[in-house]
């Protein structure tokens, strides 16, 4: 049983350290890497908050699509992947597309907020 800070709060502290103190104190050649590391901390911070609900929603979508039980998300993903690759004609193409768009939106909410605002080509 963990005490505070929570995972999110710790990731926030790591990002803050990298952004506010480390970045200004290191040679230019390292700055890009440290910026990337700080951004990864921010990604994990968002993911910690968002992933549990996103995973439940994804499992629900895939279970409905594949008419399977909704417990094991990796197995559901693997099965969808297998059926797409096999060209399974029983899959509803539009429904598959919509389910994958919803998952990509959830992934981007952690990894790159705002990226899904552009729905064009």
């Amino acid at each position: 049983m963990k005490y505070r800070p929570t995972d999110e709060e710790l990731l926030d502290a790591i990002a803050e350290l990298l952004e506010n103190q480390v970045l200004g104190a290191i040679p230019p050649a390292l700055q890009h890497q440290v910026r990337v590391a700080a951004n990864l901390s921010r990604i994990l911070q968002r993911q910690t908050a968002l992933e549990p609900a996103a995973s439940r929603a994804e499992a629900g979508r895939l279970a409905a699509l594949l008419e399977m039980g909704g417990e094991d998300l990796p197995a559901l993903r693997a099965e969808l992947d297998r059926r797409i690759r096999a060209g399974d004609g029983a899959l509803d193409e539009a429904a598959v597309w919509a389910a994958l768009v919803a998952t990509a939106r959830d992934d981007l909410a952690s990894a790159k907020p705002g990226y899904d605002a552009w729905e064009g080509e």
Binding site: D81, R82, G87, E93, L100, A104, L108, K112, W118
Partner: protein
Amino acid sequence: MADLAEGLAAFLSKEWDRPVEITGLAASSAGARRANVAFDADDGRLVHPLVATIVPTAAIQLNPIGAEAAVRTLARDHGVPVPEVVGWSEDESWVGGPFFLSERVDGETVPRQVLRLVDQQGIGDLVAHQLGQAMGRLHSIDPAVAPPRLLDLGAGAPAERALAGLEAAMGTLLEPRPALSLGLKWLERHLPPAPPTSTIVHTDIRTGNLIVGADGLRAVLDWEGARRGGDPMEDVAWMTLRMWRFRNDDREIGGLAGRPPFLEGYGVGGGEWHEERCRWWKVYGTLKWGLGLAAQAAGHLDGSFRSIIMAASGRRVPEMEWDLLMLIKPGR
């Protein structure tokens, strides 16, 4: 750097048959694959501003450096803006690896700075037109005059060959990614006709590989992946991908401009636009880049290229999945 200056001085003195002094050596950009070093070469009469592009070892080259130098010269002779190559060598003893030297062209190359300059000067449409024209000229070159050693991926339809490459790359994913599989399936089902003539293609023309000045496009860089036997729409489509727009999402051509000025320039340069093939190569390029990001993450994880940047690439895969899904929307 002292050794590098000596090596360059010795090479140019031999090449130009008079003593050459090297000054102002400065690494301008060091990619993972090769280094670009700016310097001035003083031959006693003139000071030549040059760039040395040095491959750490011949083993990682896509094209032999002599073929890259030759295709640059060929493109330049056909009116494509490319910095003039003034010398090259595949002898690794001069500077520690194969290299070529080219004239140094001033201007912006870093994407955000390019886009800022273009906005300040109001030249987005102009640069897109110039770029289209440059590509049209490149694609009009008779493939028979391509440098003999230029990469040639063999006979057969370019799209089928490229698709086979992606299928192999899909097999190396560390976890299933249904969105990428859906993209692959789309490519299989929509294989386009072969181009009427296969052409020399650059394969990496994008914002980031251009030099742009206040007067417009000055140069197309980074010809290391050029090859023969390509579909010209591969180059055109690569330039339209969202990842080169740097937040200017509504400007399809590298964040510079929309499609019309680019297409017009392409026609003026002698290129023949083909919507269906371009569309296919756009989906192809998006999936290819998604798989490239996945491969970078794998390279970090298996220890072949430990780097926080390569690791972070794994979290960029959903960006490509999103772009891919938007491109293959059913019923579109």
